[in-house]
Subunit: 333 residues, 2 copies
DNA sequence: GCAGCATTTGCACACGCTTGCAAAAAGCGC
DNA sequence: GCGCTTTTTGCAAGCGTGTGCAAATGCTGC
């Protein structure tokens, strides 16, 4: 390392002609300092370019101001949108985000949580994967807060934020039926995350209530290519589906592109499609996809207010509704 | 705050029946500990769920392991891809990423850098905006490393990583001319960042060498909608362009969608389009956009190796080439 | 000027860790 | 066993900050 030499409170104190405690107090809202000395301190700090050392402050206050965001596939539209909202709200709350990228294994989530502990993060938000119970217990025992987004599995202690995927899926069935569709299909990936599976199961259950069967096809990881592959499989069946619910907008985009360009199907005339997430691309005029919008802003707001509230925070479970935004990939509406 | 109570090295020492220094050394690679005690320590740590406090370690070692990533518009495809690569490489190098979201103002970049100083980040990587020189000087003086990506303005001290935008732009002109295009246009946003302007100017200059004029249209911020608006303006001219270089893939997507769906133009038969960035959507079969791929992996690797190399790091300037990936929005090739 | 009170200030300890230094232990050759 | 060298260990100081406590200062009303 090169010689590192940040200016410390001592130097500021010396320059301002006060004690070091005065400096500390000048930077602590509500501390007991006269306006006169506070000004002297602030000016000296300004001149020297002093910034409070948050490592040391965190050590003393036992509160680092750091919140870990644990997520895989950051570069995905929905994930990055959620990330944007979270960091934004965190910054507004005076916290700072530490970003940890995981692969799709649960092991890497465990490692990420350990990193969160090492930096004494005030809280961790888990957007992907599911950590071992022993690790989450360790976090909670250490007084670190935990937010699980769309992770389903309920344990007391953390804040759980989930969408009502089953209810959404049921609405899709209704819309398809109303559009006169009879051959329903569900396009999914093999990721098997709680929310994806809930959508699938909710869709099948609601269809059955209408006396309809559902063809399910799953492939790979939840992305554009998977959508194309699944389209390949679904659209070559003798009984070609006339309505497809895609577990994800990304899947839907791949699916629609394949349907149009390889199978020359027109949407929604010959094929209705609904997605989930309302990523930006869903509104592009090549897609105009009818889909459910994830309330990312609400999710972020709820998460941040919960994890930054003072006192001990009770574990809670929050279920939000996803709004169906109607565009043009489904007849009627 | 709830009662926070992380297990400390003392507790581990006590359980393992050794001194606190031994615990510290057991967690310091290359420190002087016998294998026997190290094992005792590691086991005790395991049992208690101990994790080294990196705030305290950072305080002592004068090296926090934190690297700040300063970026606006995280949710944008290119930015999030770069972010993914950076966090990935940082983690491989044993660092951890602190993510700071800025709006498009330079002021917010300054604030972000101050935050980086507060957490005593080992380095900061700036992906958007340009901080005041006084702040960057403060960073350097404090021994914090700085990486500026596509920020152009050269100052000694930081590592600068730039693309050869002008050269790329010249290649586009060549390709357009070879495709028989004569009415060239450039679609840009009003953001005016160095790389966007370099592409614009390089394009104009290269066209002039071929004796061709360029119509330039700029609108709003660099996104999909801007591309649509710019298309509106360019495609209603009496002399309709037959080749458009879009400063960004996102612009190109909006542009193409407008060209096709509102103006019923076919690409590349009636209109050639080239983008920049090679975002994922550029390869989607609705676009199949010919574009330049940003070497995000190389950028991330170079940045991380530079900022984590020991000794004092000389400021450097690195110029990379963007590869032209040929798809189907330009005739010939 | 003085007693009585509220406000401000500095001292010193604590936070959890690393590391130089000297003492203790271990290994080695005889 | 003894002197020697090498390895391991514990002590204690220090990193930069926050904060309780007691001393000091300022203010008020007489």
């Amino acid at each position: 390392m090169s010689q590192r030499d940040f200016v410390s409170a001592d130097e500021v104190a010396q320059r301002a002609g006060v004690s070091r405690s005065a400096v500390s107090r000048a930077f602590t809202p509500g501390a007991s300092v006269s306006e006169a000395t506070r000004q002297k301190v602030l000016q000296a700090a300004e001149e020297l370019g002093y910034q409070v050392n948050h490592l040391a402050r965190g050590l003393m206050r036992n509160e680092s101001g750091i919140v870990c965001l644990i997520v895989s596939d950051v570069a995905t539209p929905y994930r990055s949108a959620l990330l944007r909202e979270l960091t934004l709200h965190l910054q507004l709350a005076g916290k700072v985000a530490m970003l940890i990228n995981t692969d799709r294994s649960d092991g890497s989530v465990n490692k990420a949580l350990q990193q969160a502990i090492r930096y004494r993060a005030d809280a961790s938000v888990i957007l992907s994967g599911l950590p071992d119970k022993s690790i989450t217990q360790l976090c909670l025992r250490s007084g670190q807060r935990l937010v699980l987004i769309n992770r389903d599995e309920d344990q007391s202690g953390p804040l759980h934020i989930n969408l009502d995927d089953r209810e959404a899926a049921a609405r899709v069935v209704t819309a398809f039926v109303r559009a006169g569709c009879t051959r329903l299909a569900f396009a999914n990936s093999e990721a098997g995350t709680p929310s994806l599976m809930a959508r699938e199961q909710g869709f099948i259950a609601a269809a059955r209530e209408q006396g309809l069967d559902v063809v399910v096809e799953r492939h790979g990881w939840t992305g554009y290519e998977a959508g194309q592959i699944v389209a390949q499989r679904l659209l070559t069946r003798k009984e070609r589906p006339d309505a497809v619910f895609c577990a994800t907008d990304l899947l839907a985009c791949g699916f629609m592109d394949a349907a149009r360009h390889q199978f020359s199907l027109s949407i929604p005339q010959q094929l209705c499609v609904v997605g989930f997430d309302d990523i930006e691309q869903a509104s592009w005029s090549s897609y105009r996809l009818t889909t459910f919008s994830q309330p990312v802003t609400v999710i972020a707001r709820e998460a941040v207010t919960w994890l930054s509230e003072s006192g001990i925070a009770e574990g809670r479970s929050l279920t939000l509704q996803a709004d169906l935004v109607w565009r043009e990939t489904i007849r009627g509406g």
